[in-house]
Each structure stands twice: as structure tokens, then as C-alpha cells.
Assembly symmetry: C2
């Protein structure tokens, strides 16, 4: 995949320049100094030779065997350069030039034109407004960043070119190599999903680290990221998550940033490892690239200093992992080898004067221990420490069965150890907390890899009935689906709705009440009223015909007075349900990632405590249970304060059926079941009220 | 203060060794190579010369003019060495030797003996089991860490010697200096409070950075830390906060780690800046040491790259600070000076090809802007970047009125800039998030410095009445103060308690009920029953004499059956109160920091949501309001879901009165007012139930 972009045999640089300091010079010079072995053709109408290469006025010389064209001409000439590239047979085009979507509508139009041009001919376009790309496998530095990294196993996809330069500089400082580095710029054609797919199949790449400000196509992203994560870890730093950050993002790239909660849900689904900040991006990527995945979350800590051992133990616990004593046989055997003052608990304290052998013995013991899933080795440089030798001793113990991460603290004294570690593919961190956080990222990814197969249950439902209701709404020009119709839809998806019916007069209301049985509830039916109870449009516990008649007339009178413009179709009369826990179930379609299900316990839990959880549909039973369990109020559902447990599986089942409904009917863009009343196991949960919103309905008020 | 320890003129090293690699050699060698100008006297029975210094068999030569004695002999000889040091007139003793409290009870006893020895003679003792100390002001490296830091303005107090070596190595790597570095070891005498006080008055020290695993005396610590924080920032990394960490702490130092929540409350009170991890300790300390405090939390971000600008904006918002547009006049003027494509919003994007002048203009504009309280300057090394020159250009704009923090990202390319920054006292971070977090620490500390004077209100109360109740309990050998007596105490502190009385028989109960008026509540009175309602010991809403009689007899019957051993004194009959919000107010004495007040909304909010807040008594009105506002359920108190606001000031007043009560009566070690029933403003909040526990009562069951 993307052979023409990543492994071109012939590259043209259109806009190559003779002037050092110019981008058109930098690209050419980097290609040459990086050691690229293919053919490089500088194109510039005025030049005849640049950096020892014969310069061409056009692409005639490479016609038919051009692979990659790199365009660095001013923005007004980009279209022509791309046209010529396509004509010459380019398989891929990289537009470095800026001045497109990011500068406004005119730029966006020009960008679209170039992208369409490429798409029409099956040519892939990287950029515009990007740094270019680097592939260490074929020594190709097709970017204007001067530093060429050593070959490595982490590949980088970045929506910020500037960040690429910082990454290159940082990785050079750490002596860490890279596989591919790709600056995706404005993503007019090639976006994160294309490159994730390409890197999934790239043997050189063990881990993909991404910096993203937006995601081009949410649905596609989830599918692709999931398929890539199944093969190798994808670590993403998503910036622009908060309001302030989001503002900066839209002024920067002109892209629409999705809500942070949706990104969280999408990453969780797709197995993406989320980095919370810049340092975490490479902290996690290094650990995942260099070490085997842990089988669980039990961490052994080895240290020559109590304090940092405590810091590590604190961090393990804060992140929800475990620090447990070693197996008895292991700790007894280790105890005999270490000095008396050493501690063979966990943390294992090999003491301040520990030599490399002592570290080796402790690491070996921890790797032998069946109850240890991962090891963090800490060293502070003390008088007797030999950091580099200790690093080598630790490395000599590695067996590839469990992850080992180091935190050699300090500066100059531990530098030699860092080099040993980098070479031996053992990740090393400046502070224990960063090692532990990286191990946690590995644990989470490993747990995702071990997850049971996702089986989305399909319930037998009556789709035709839903289709009929929706057509009726559409014909009527009604975007909002009120209680009556929403309940009909839900009934078709096997939700339990209490007996009830629509009534247009007090007499009809009494007839319905007589039929369903007293007591009854009565609710206004109006396409213009969403929050019925706020306007006095709900009456509960009506016990006889007289109360029903009174309630009807009062309701009509009051609402007509409070909201004279509202169309009042009548009322809905319904049997009163048994009391139970009030739950809110809902769905809204995230513009990026599609249907997002919501669960929360009703009332203050949603309104004051914001104790809700989200998940992207379609959802499995396990995921629905996860949604419930990830709220704090789950404890109440399980029974608390004298109340017994409610029918938790009933709630999970409801979420699964909503998931099926909104997947079957994408025109439903929003829905609330509020409240959904859930009683004990064995009782039927009830939809007490519901509403939905349709997309694509042209409203025509009569 | 601590002149003899920090500025000795004559130092003896008892246990000086001729053998490189031994601690007794390292100390001597470090004193010499560090450049200490005072007299150094090695003491060793066998030696005659070490490292060119004449070695003494005893301390006769320095008798009468010894200032500091450093003891490195094996633990069994430490006592004698300390005795001789005292005899020779030492003003301070540092015991490097380990093998005391940290190895068990015997060691602890030996340690106590040495400490008592010193205390008896007014000699201060550092250690045992420590690394020693370093003072760059007089070039004294009285430690066994080989690296001597440059003079600087941050002083370090560390409970972990090993961490000191990591700090020294790290600071050498960064080119950062230190003022004093003191390893406090087992804290047999000198502890964190002594050293905080000494460093408060130390002119060289601008910021104190501490690593602590335990705090020796909580009360004293708060007082001292508060007085120090009023003069200069104190940043503390407290390890051993979680269960796992705590376990490691106790096996390491044998010290009792206080609960994390208590440390949080103590640090908040004392204005201590809390570092969450090792890197944060120096990130925050550097910022506080080098830059002026911000006046508010409005942050300007300057960047040559969109991505990192977004990361910084995200971090600002996540930490609760603000990123707002610049003042119109400032941004207009800046716009004219920068290229058209630059953004003068916030973040200010000076573009990838920004030269040092552009950075200088942007920094100058941000510093001019009245709506900016602090500036974060980001640079990614791009082709046209000149990091070192840019650093100098930024430095040239500094005016000392607002904090400026840099985040120059990358490795090799930005190294020269880092050196410039360190020299110019401008803190520089490898990632934008760390710069922003450091600015946040400055903001919090500045807000604490600006806090209004703490005025703890004293309410007129009846202390005598409380004394009487407590004496009665003590005489009766009753630790637990039940409802009747607890209410009497609270009434004496001006809490409103409903009319009611104790009754020993159904007839008495009816008499009380007749007197206070129906309906009434009835609750069992037993010194053995704490949770009355769990055993059926509470009946509410009794409406007439018959119901009172029935309730009495049923209650006695049932409890006698359910808990035959309980002593049943009778019942408490009380007027039923009006309904209102149920609040829980409480206090427990933290073993380290004393009386900790608790507030929470009753029921599920405390039990399921754990939505409670804590504060150390004595408390001011503002702090009591803070306690309320820091819970999520505060929204409910202000009115929500159709309910009006409750008497919030009434709750704050109650917390203040509890604060006064538990300060006046330290023998009250625990108390709950549960529920405290609060209605609308203008109504009287009611103590519906209460209990307390006394300390120092010898229980004598009859």
C-alpha cells in the first residue's frame, strides 16, 4: 500500500531551489544527505543544476516512470504542478506548500480542486501544508526537516508538521530511531486512516504514534483503527480536547473538532491507546514497541532506594494496578542471595550499595515469579552504583516473556545506562511514575487484545412498524417524535410500554382510562412541546372518571394560556406503572463517530452529579454491562439503603435494543427514554416516557 | 538558626577512612573537593593522615571549638562518638550511619538514646541513616554524594538519601544550582519543621523543595509550614499516599503514614504547593524560584507551531485556568508587526519560520496586556528556528512583573536555548503541559498568598455545661456519648435541638410526648448501641399516647431479643421536626493533623457517591463555605429540581461551631451530627441525631 509514496524509485521535486534556507532547497538537500538511493529529479524553470543534480524545466525526462512528486512551488502554481505530475505518471504527490484550507474559504476551494484532480486519476495526495515524510527503511528524507533519524520501530503520523521536527530532535537526543514519519498536513486526500492501514502492513513498524487534531471520517476511523490495533498498538495524542484547545484547533486547521467524550468512546472501542500529553505519546509508544505485553496488572518494583520505590508503588495503586508480595518460594530464595538488610517484599529493595549482580538476581526472581506480570526497575545513582553495568546486567536477564521498564533517575551519571537501554530495546524513564504509567498503557492495550469476541446480539423486532411510524412523521413534516409515536417505535423493538391510548376529548380520555384501568397518567400530546411537565402537561395517579375529566380540561386550559402557539392534539392516557428506579437511556449521534448511547440514573444523578456513561453503538451485552458498571450510581442498582437490586440485565438489554434500533434507523438522530422505570429482577422494565428526533425532515407547519 | 549545622567553622569526621569507596572516605574527600574553607579534622584511632589531613585518634585537638561532628562509625559505636562530640563542644551532630529505627525495635531504642543524649545538651542531631548535607553558600559538601552542585536558589529537604543523589545528578545535568540540600534520614531530632524554619530565614533560599514520607508532628508542621509559606514557597512531594505506597513506606522508614486526605487538608491550610510526582517537584520549584508570581489565572500562549499551542491551551483549560483573547489594542498593534498569516488570538502563532524578533514582539505584547497574568512560550525547532537566539530575545523582554515559562520542545537543537534560559532564570520545560502545570502551581500559591486574613469567629457558648456532661461521661466510664448527652453538648454550643426528654417507662414517655406535643419521635437510649435504626431503635411520627406506649414496649421487646447484652436505659422522646435536606456533619481527629471536619449531603451522597469534603479545624466562615462549595451536591443546596435553596449559611455556621467545640474540647475525638436537617433560609437547622466519642476514658462496664 502507498508504494509510490513510501518506496518511490523516482522522485521529482517541483520547485527545487538553489538557495539554502528555502524549503525547495531543504527538500532536495535532505533527500541527498539522507542517503536516498533512487533517482531524484529537481524541477525548476530557471535552474540547470542544483546540489550536483541536473535540474529540469519540466517533467518530460521522467514521463512514464515518475513515482513520487514533491511540490514546493507557491500556492498559485500548485494545481499546475500537480497536473503535470499526474500527466508524468506520478503515483503519489506530496504538496508541501501552505496557503490552502487553513487560510480560509478560497484556500479550501483550491485545495478541493487539487484533491479532486488526484482522486480522478487514482493518484494519492499527501498534504497540502505539510512537512513531507521520512522513511528510514529506504533512507528517504522527503521532508524539509534536516534531521534524519536512525532506523527504528516506531512510526509517526502527525497532523502538525512542527511537532514532527520536535519529535525528530527529541528522538535524536534520546538515540531512538524511527521507522516512518509522515506529516499529513491538511489531509486533502490521505488522512490518518489511510496511513494507519499502510503502517499496519508495514513490517518495519511495530507501533504507530499519532498526533491528531481532528479525525476525518469517524466511522471509517473506528473500523480501521480497530483492525490496526488488532495487529500492532496505535497510540494517539488527540489535541484540541477542551474548549480552549478546540478554539485553537479550529483557528489552526479549520477542522471541526469532535467532542472529547466521543473521542474517548471511539478510542476505547478501537483499542487505541490514548496519550494524555506529549511526553506520554512517546513514553507509551516506546514501552509498547520495545517490550512484550503483560498478561495482567501485577507489578514488581525493584529499587536501590526506598523513596523512589514508594513513588512507584503509589503510582501503581493510583492507576489501578497491583503491587503484591512475591511468591513465598521466590522471595525466600532471593532473601538468601541478598544482604540481610535488603527487602524482598514488593518493592524489592536491593539497597543503596547494590551492584549489578544484585539487580540481576532481583530481576531474575521477579521474572520467575508466576504472580508478577510486569517489572519496573529503579536506580538512583549512589556512590557505589554502576549505572551502565547495572543496565547491562538487567538486560542480560531479559527473556521476552514479561515487560521490564526502567526508571534510572538523575542526569549525567545515568546517561551511559540510557544508551545501553535504548540499544537493548528496554524503555527507560526519568521518573518512576512515567515508567508505571507506560506499563499501565501496556496493560490496558493487552486487556483489549485479550477481550472476548464482540458479539452484537440481534433481537427479533418489527422493523416494518417503525418504518410506518417514521414515514408518517416524515410525511407530516414532523422532526420531533412525541411520546405516543416514540412508544410505538419502542414497542416494535420489544420494549414494554404500559397500556394506553391517545384521546382527543375528556370523554375519549375517560373511555381509555376505563379500558386500561385506574389509576391512570395523562400527558399532553403536542408536536410543539418537548418538556411536558414543565408546562403542567403531565398529571399522575388519576383515580376515577371525574379526576380524568377534570385533569383534561385543566390541562388544556392552562397550556393554552401558557403557550398559546402550541398545537394541542389531545392527551395520552396510560395505566400508572409500579414505582421503581428511574433510569435515563438516550442516544445522540456524534458528528464524527455516530450513535453514542447514554446511560444514567434519573434525577439528580444525571442533572447534578453528571454521573452518566457513554458508548458507541452497536454495543454488545458485555459493553452494555460495562456502561452500567462505570457509573458510581451502579452501587444503587445493585441494592443499597434497604432497597433490593434492580433488574440490571433488563437495563443492559434495553441499551442493546436501542443500539439495534439506532443502527437500523440512522434517521433517528436523538432519543431519550426518560424515565425508564426498572424494578426487581423478574419484573418488566417500563418505558414511562420517550421522545426521538429525526434528521432530514422538512418541517412544514400547517 | 542551625548555625552549627549549616555554617560550621570546624568539622570533625568521626570514622574517616583511608579506603576509597568507603563512606568515611567519601565524606572527607567531598568536604575537601567541594572547596570547604573551614577546618576539617578526620578522626580515626588507626590513622595518622588521610587525604593530606592529619588524622586524630580522638577529639582533644578541637575540644571547645568544634562546631559540627559527622559520625560514620558502625552503629554500635555511634553513641560513644556522639558523646565525645558533645563533650568536645559540638553544636550539631550528623549521624550518617544506618542500622537504627529502620531495622527494628532494638535500633529504634538505640536511636532514641542518641537523640536524648543530644537533646539533653542542646545539641542538634541530623539523621541517623542519612546522606548528610550540602551547603553551596560555604562550599560545604558534608555528604557522601560526590557531586557538588553550583550555588542556586532552591533548597532541598529529603527524607530519602537516595533521592538526594538523583536530584544532584539531575540538577547537574540541567545546569541548575541548589542552595542547601539536607538529607534528614530517620529524623531522630531534626525534622522537616526544624529545617523549614531554618530555610525560611536563609537568604540564599528562594524556594524549598521537600520529599517526605511522613510528617513528625502534624500540628507543629502546619504552623511552621504556614509561617514559611508566607515568606517563600514550599513544594512538597509526599510519597506513600496510597495503600501500596504506604506499605512500602512503613517497611522503609518505620514511620506511620497519615491518610492522604489529611495531608491534602494540611497542605491546603498551610499554603504548601503539592507536587504529584517527582518531575513536578522540580518543575514547580523551578518556576516558583525563578519567576514572579502571577496576579491571576489568565494565560497567554506564544508558539511557532499550532499543535503544541493547542496542547498548551488544552492543559490550561484542564487545570481550570483561562486562555482569553488579547486586549484589542494589543492584538491590533501586534498584528501589524507580524506576518499576515500569523495569529494574534490566543494562542499567538508566530508561525513556523519565526525569528527571534517575532518572539520578542509577541512576548512584549503579552507582557503589556493588562488581561494577561502569565505567559507560556513554546518553540519547536524548525528549519528557520534559531533556538538560542530566540531564548535570548525572550529573555531580553523580561520585566519581572509577570511569570514567563518556556517549553522549547525537542532534544539536541534546543539544548543551547536551555542553557540560556537556566542562566537567565527562566524556567524551561520539555513539553507544554509541564510548563502549564507549573504555572498553575504558581497561580495556586499566589492565590493562597493573596487570601484574606483568617479570622476564626468565636461564638458565645456555654462551656461549663459541656464540661459537666463530659465529666459525667468520664466518671461513668463511658467513651461513647449517646444522643441525649450529645444533644445537650450541642445545645450548649447554640445548636437547635427539638424539645424532648429521656423516659424510662411507657408512662414517662407519654408524659414527655404530651409535654413536647405530637407527633413525636422515639429513640432507644443505650450506651451499647451506636446505630440505633439498624436494630429497630427508632420510631417516627407517633401521633398519640397509644402509639407512644405501643412503640415503647415493642422497642424494648425487640431490642432485648436482638441484642440481649445491650444495656437499655430507656428512650428519648422528641418532637418531630419539619422535613428538610438531610446533612451529615462530622469530625474525626487525624493522628497527625488533629480535628478534621467533614461535610456531606446525607444518604446516598455520602454512602454511594462519597461526595464529602474535609477541612482542618479551626475553620473560618470562608473556609466553611469552601467546604460546602467543593462538593458536587452543593448545587442541590442552592436549589434544584423544584426545591428552593436551603439555609447554606446555617450549615457553614454549624461547621464553625463544631470547629469551636472540638478545639475547646480536645477530648472529643469523633463526632457525627447525622442527620442535621436544614430548611429554607429563615428556618432553624435542627440536630436530629448526634453522637460523639471521647478519648482517655477508662471503660468500666458494671
Amino acid at each position: 500500500m502507498l508504494e509510490g509514496l513510501l518506496y518511490p524509485k523516482t522522485i521529482a521535486v517541483i520547485g527545487a531551489s538553489r538557495t539554502p534556507g528555502k524549503v525547495g532547497y531543504a527538500i532536495l538537500s535532505n533527500l541527498i544527505s539522507g542517503g536516498y538511493q533512487g533517482r531524484v529529479v529537481p524541477v525548476n524553470p530557471s535552474g540547470d543544476e542544483i546540489l550536483g543534480l541536473r535540474c529540469h524545466k519540466d517533467l518530460k525526462a521522467v514521463e512514464g516512470h515518475l513515482d513520487l512528486s514533491i511540490v514546493v512551488v507557491p500556492s498559485q502554481f500548485v494545481k499546475q504542478a500537480v497536473e503535470e505530475s499526474i500527466h508524468a505518471g506520478a503515483k503519489a504527490v506530496t504538496v508541501i506548500t501552505a496557503g490552502f484550507k487553513e487560510v480560509g474559504a478560497k484556500g479550501a476551494a483550491a485545495e478541493l480542486e487539487v484533491a479532486d484532480l488526484c482522486r480522478g486519476k487514482g493518484v494519492r495526495l499527501l498534504g497540502p501544508n505539510c512537512l513531507g515524510l521520512i522513511n528510514t527503511e529506504n533512507s528517504m528524507n522527503a521532508s524539509f526537516a534536516a534531521q534524519m533519524p536512525k532506523p527504528g520501530i516506531i512510526s509517526v503520523i502527525s497532523q502538525s508538521g512542527a511537532l514532527c521536527t520536535a519529535i525528530l530532535d527529541w528522538s535524536a537526543g534520546r538515540g531512538l530511531g524511527l521507522a516512518k514519519l509522515i506529516s499529513i498536513g491538511n489531509k486533502a486526500d490521505l488522512c490518518e486512516t489511510d496511513l494507519l492501514l499502510a503502517l499496519r502492513d508495514d513490517e518495519q513498524t511495530k507501533v504507530i504514534a499519532c498526533y491528531l487534531e481532528s479525525i476525518t471520517a469517524g466511522d471509517e476511523f473506528i473500523k480501521v483503527a480497530e483492525s490496526v490495533s488488532a495487529v500492532k498498538p496505535v497510540v494517539i495524542l488527540k489535541a484540541g480536547t477542551t474548549q480552549a484547545g478546540g478554539k485553537a484547533a479550529s483557528s489552526h486547521t479549520g477542522s471541526l473538532a469532535g467532542a472529547d467524550i466521543a473521542y474517548g468512546a471511539a478510542f476505547r472501542r478501537a483499542g487505541v491507546v490514548r496519550a494524555e500529553n506529549f511526553e506520554a505519546l512517546f513514553d507509551y509508544a516506546s514501552a509498547l514497541a520495545m517490550q512484550p505485553l503483560p498478561q495482567g496488572d501485577r507489578v514488581a518494583i525493584i529499587t536501590n532506594a526506598g523513596g523512589p520505590g514508594i513513588m512507584a508503588a503509589d503510582a501503581v495503586e493510583n492507576l489501578g494496578m497491583q503491587v503484591k508480595p512475591l511468591e513465598k518460594s521466590i522471595s525466600t530464595a532471593l532473601k538468601e542471595k541478598l544482604p540481610a538488610a535488603a527487602s524482598v517484599g514488593n518493592p524489592i529493595d536491593v539497597l543503596g550499595d547494590a551492584d549489578p549482580e544484585r539487580y540481576a538476581m532481583a530481576v531474575s526472581a521477579a521474572l520467575d515469579d508466576q504472580t508478577v506480570d510486569g517489572v519496573v526497575v529503579i536506580l538512583t545513582p549512589q556512590a557505589m552504583s554502576r549505572p551502565a553495568e547495572t543496565a547491562r546486567a538487567i538486560i542480560s536477564q531479559m527473556r521476552g516473556n514479561k515487560p521490564v521498564l526502567a526508571a534510572f533517575m538523575g542526569g549525567q551519571d545515568v546517561m551511559p545506562a540510557r544508551s545501553e537501554f535504548v540499544q537493548a530495546h528496554l524503555p527507560d524513564y526519568p521518573a518512576p511514575e512515567r515508567a508505571v504509567a507506560s506499563l499501565k498503557a501496556m496493560c490496558d492495550y493487552a486487556a483489549w487484545r485479550r477481550r472476548p469476541p464482540r458479539i452484537v446480539a440481534r433481537f427479533p423486532v418489527n422493523r416494518r412498524r417503525v418504518e410506518r411510524v417514521i414515514s408518517r412523521q416524515v410525511r407530516g413534516g414532523l422532526r420531533e417524535i412525541g411520546e405516543v409515536n416514540a412508544k410505538e417505535i419502542l414497542r416494535a423493538y420489544d420494549f414494554t410500554v404500559l397500556p394506553g391510548d391517545f384521546a382527543r376529548s375528556p370523554e375519549e380520555a375517560v373511555m381509555v382510562a376505563d379500558r386500561v384501568g385506574y389509576p391512570v397518567a395523562m400527558k399532553i400530546v403536542s408536536p410543539d412541546i418537548v418538556h411536558k411537565s414543565d408546562l403542567g402537561g403531565v398529571k399522575l395517579n388519576l383515580r376515577n372518571p371525574q379526576e380524568v375529566t377534570d385533569a383534561y380540561e385543566l390541562m388544556m386550559l392552562r397550556i393554552a394560556r401558557r403557550m398559546p402557539t402550541a398545537r394541542l392534539h389531545g392527551v395520552y392516557v396510560e395505566q400508572m406503572g409500579k414505582p421503581g428506579r428511574e433510569i435515563i437511556l438516550g442516544m445522540h449521534r456524534d458528528p464524527q463517530f455516530g450513535p453514542m448511547l447514554m446511560f444514567g440514573l434519573g434525577g439528580i444523578f444525571v442533572e447534578v452529579m453528571k454521573d452518566v456513561s457513554f458508548y458507541l453503538a452497536p454495543i454488545t451485552k458485555e459493553e452494555a454491562m460495562q456502561m452500567l458498571m462505570s457509573t458510581r450510581s451502579y452501587a444503587l442498582l445493585k441494592g443499597a439503603r434497604g432497597q433490593g437490586p434492580v433488574d440490571i440485565e433488563g437495563i443492559a438489554g434495553a441499551l442493546q435494543r436501542i443500539s439495534q434500533l439506532v443502527t437500523d434507523f440512522p434517521q433517528i438522530v436523538e432519543m431519550d427514554i426518560n424515565p425508564f422505570i426498572v424494578g426487581e429482577v423478574g419484573t418488566q422494565p417500563i418505558v414511562a416516557d420517550a421522545r426521538m428526533t429525526l434528521s432530514g425532515v422538512e418541517e412544514h407547519h400547517e
